[in-house]
């Protein structure tokens, strides 16, 4: 009997693939990547025996990983990347994990704002070594470690103090080659009192593995609008994590839209590190066919008078499976914290399923925290009411589904993203019928 678990074999192939790649030129980055690879090898892929992975089985993903990591990217692919947001944005595009200046307009950024590779940034600002990439811990998650090991050079966006960036920064990660694995990494720092809008948009033309990590640090009084739109090929695997740290009075407004991939898992970690920091996070995930979509949020209130509100909704059709886990953690010093977490789900068929778990962990005594979750089907009374006004059954259903999403999308801020969501809803309805 073979005593080696399949995982060990998988890890060894992944290690070999890593060793065959040219090492990072920057010694700091190289060291980091080496340590991350070992961190990953020590952990292996998570199994459903782990509480955090109870509902998401990545065995098939793990089996494809070694081979897909070896797939060669197409450096000359010319996919038709219709941007989600209009020309009034600064575009930064990656195709098959490779930065594409020809599909980007980063040069339009006002002077003083850096948007480029981390190695380039470190060459001008070596002191940043101590600051960059400290939010996501390779020891915390195998997928973060894997990302650090393979992402190598990340996209860095740095705004100095007192900059108000009018145009949104639109970062597009597109996989063009079939069965390719990419590891997008984004590091963002907003200087004190700076403001910006960042949109990450993930798409793929074929089945692909995407494992992304984004780290965002907002200094005092900075404000970031963050959007993440995941609309990958339905046979893709998408794992992603965002780590956000908010200093005093900093504010995060975020919206996650997950509609694609066969298996998608997103983790949003927000640490309200400074007093009066504020986070307002929304998310909408929808699945059909056999899609599996997990959305996790982890909000840490670590300073007094911090506020957060999380509103997440799921819509599942056919045999789609959803998982929602929302955790609010209030540290002892975070007095006068206010936090509110809600998750509402709509199941459009008997075969659809959701596991939802909101959690509060509170170690301060003077706080105002609430959480709630509900899951249901379309309301028959509402359906009959609409039909009694002459509206056909299918139209009435889709009106109610759009209304469910619309309540959340109402103040999305970027019209194109709300439109995108509505489009996906209509697609969902077609599949469902």
């Amino acid at each position: 009997m073979n005593t080696a678990t399949p995982d060990t074999a998988t890890i060894e192939v992944i290690r070999k693939t890593w060793q065959e790649r040219p090492p990072a030129a920057n010694p700091y980055l190289h060291g980091r990547m080496t340590r991350a690879l070992e961190a990953f090898a020590g952990k292996g892929f998570p199994t459903t025996r782990l509480e955090n992975w109870k509902y998401t089985d990545v065995r098939k993903l793990a089996a494809s990983y070694p081979e897909w990591l070896r797939t060669a990217p197409d450096e000359t692919a010319t996919p038709d990347l219709e941007p989600l947001v209009g020309p009034d944005s600064v575009r930064i595009s990656f195709v098959d994990g490779i930065y594409r200046p020809d599909l980007s307009t980063a040069g339009d950024l006002p002077p003083g704002i850096f948007a480029g590779s981390v190695s380039e940034l470190l060459s001008v600002e070596p002191a940043l070594e101590d600051k960059l990439g400290k939010l996501a811990q390779d020891s915390d998650s195998a997928f973060v470690a894997l990302n650090t090991a393979f992402a190598g050079d990340a996209l860095a966006i740095v705004l100095p103090d007192n900059v108000e960036l009018q145009k949104p920064i639109y970062v597009r990660f597109h996989s063009s080659t079939s069965q390719l694995g990419t590891q997008p990494r984004v590091m963002v720092e907003l200087g004190a009192r700076s403001r910006a809008t960042l949109i990450e948009h993930y798409t793929s033309g074929h089945e692909a593995i995407v494992n992304s990590v984004t780290e965002i640090r907002c200094l005092e009084n900075a404000a970031l609008n963050y959007y993440k739109v995941q609309d990958e090929h339905t046979d893709s695997w998408h794992t992603a994590a965002q780590y956000v740290e908010l200093a005093r009075n900093a504010k995060l407004t975020s919206m996650h839209l997950d509609t694609g991939a066969g298996l998608a898992r997103n983790e949003l970690h927000v640490r309200l590190a400074g007093p009066a920091a504020n986070a307002d996070c929304k998310g909408l995930f929808m699945g059909s066919n056999n899609q599996h979509i997990e959305s996790r949020i982890n909000i840490e209130h670590a300073a007094p008078e911090t506020q957060s509100r999380e509103r997440f909704r799921g819509i599942l059709a056919d045999k789609a499976r959803g998982v929602f886990n929302g955790r609010i953690y209030v540290e002892p010093q975070a007095q006068k914290t206010a936090a509110e977490l809600t998750n509402r789900n709509l199941l459009l068929s008997k075969g659809a399923e959701i596991d939802t778990k909101p959690e509060l962990e509170i170690y301060a005594d003077d706080v105002k925290c609430a959480h709630g979750s509900s899951t249901g089907q379309l309301d028959e009374n509402s359906l009959f009411y609409l039909m009694s006004r002459g509206i056909e059954h299918d139209e009435a259903r889709s009106i109610l589904v759009e209304a469910f999403a619309g309540e959340l999308l109402g103040d999305t801020g970027i019209e194109a993203i709300a439109r995108k969501a509505q489009q996906s809803l209509r697609a969902l309805r077609k599949v469902e019928q």
């Binding site: 009694s388 002459g390 209304a403």
Partner: protein, 250 residues
Amino acid sequence: MLIEIKNLHASVNDIEIIKGLDLDVAPGEVHAIMGPNGSGKSTLAQALAGREDYVVTEGSVSYKGQNLLDMEPDSRARAGLFLSFQYPVEIPGVSNVYLLKAALNACRKEKGETEIDAVEFMRFIKDKAKLMELDEKFLSRGVNEGFSGGEKKRNEIFQMAVLEPDLAILDETDSGLDIDALKVVANGLNAQRDGQRSFLLITHYQRLLDYIEPDYVHVLADGRIIRSGGKELALELEENGYDNILAAAS
């Protein structure tokens, strides 16, 4: 006849509520159906509108010469049948305007007409809102969302004014209304009596009939019409209560 109901039997959860009801309504007529609680008034309204869990087990309903019972609720509505709900549903996220536009366009689509022009539509519904003394801001709010009882009922009649049905079934439209709201609703209804449109007023109390004069009054008891008469029957009921009539009929 606009609608001919013959020997109608209807059940809810396998319990028979309507037990052989006959009723004919000609174009332009106003019929009041009165009866004590539990007599089957609302069941009749819901069954005619086509609610799934109100199962017709026997009898026939002919509407404009068609078999109404074969039609889905939305087809019934597009054929000009309107139900004003006793308990209108709140639908957050769907504005009144959106609902009405979808409803109007569904009718137009069936007739092979193009979608209604947006400007024309807004002008049309604003006129109708004025008739029901509904503030224009109600139009953009979610359907019945956070409306008071009276506002909900006014909204029902407003929808009816917009959809211009041939047969309006009003299920306890007067319940839960104070006298001022009742007057507004009654005025709205009277404005829609044009000699062609027919009404089925389902009510427990005679009060509504002070404002809307019916051509016929029927007393419903235990799923059957036990007495029919002119508008004076309502006054008799008001004076003597249901018990006397029920006793006389048995």
